[in-house]
Symmetry: C2
Subunit: 128 residues, 2 copies
């Protein structure tokens, strides 16, 4: 009850400079959450990630990893061998973000039923 102010408006109303905006934009990307969760187990190769996250296309996997690398959440290590070998792992910041994701997941699991119930009631009323 301390950071309990309206402060998103303190930055320029959620434009590019607001930290929350930066973070929520990251989390909104469809695969970021899954990739970070997958990497919590330890370093992994591109192929292992692709198998773990079934449904992801190579393009989206690479794209997601590049963004995470650019933002300092993932470290990328290339071994100069043939065939190529590349390993990814979370940085300290990345592991820290994983902690936040777990908080979000726990909130989600606790309250998803309420949301679903509300949605069900809403579609009922509109059908009526």
């Amino acid at each position: 009850m301390d950071s309990d102010d309206d402060s998103p408006f303190g930055y320029d109303a959620f434009q590019r400079t607001c930290p929350s905006h930066t973070v929520l934009e990251m989390l909104a990307s469809k695969w970021v959450y899954l990739v970070v969760c997958a990497l919590r187990r330890g370093r992994m190769r591109n192929g292992e990630l692709a198998r773990k996250l079934e449904g992801i296309t190579p393009k989206m996997l690479t794209q997601t990893l590049r963004v995470l690398e650019r933002d300092g959440l993932v470290r990328r290590e290339v071994f100069p061998v043939i065939p190529p070998r590349v390993e990814y792992e979370l940085t300290g910041l990345g592991r820290n973000l994983a902690g936040l994701l777990i908080q979000i997941r726990s909130w989600a699991e606790e309250h998803a039923p309420d949301i679903k119930e509300a949605r069900a009631r809403a579609t009922e009323h509109q059908d009526a």
Copy 2:
């Protein structure tokens, strides 16, 4: 270190049924975060919200409020007077979500500098 498993994969790999997906999808919407934060102060009329969230268009404000209402986060009360008067307020679930948003904001404010630094380093290297 308890919900410390890989469980997003327990649901069908982040498809529609995963609670985290539902919640992150909500938060990803550009205005949800701002509207919920604004409503933490108490009930408000459409016009007040519009003034507080400068930059939002009437369309997006209405659309955002309708989604929040449908999901049970906001209660909408219409007074049958002329000119029309409509008030919005957070439900219990909505106030609860606001709590999560504050956690996210606090993480964001703590770590945004690291992310910015990483991005700066990344663009440096690409320019070089």
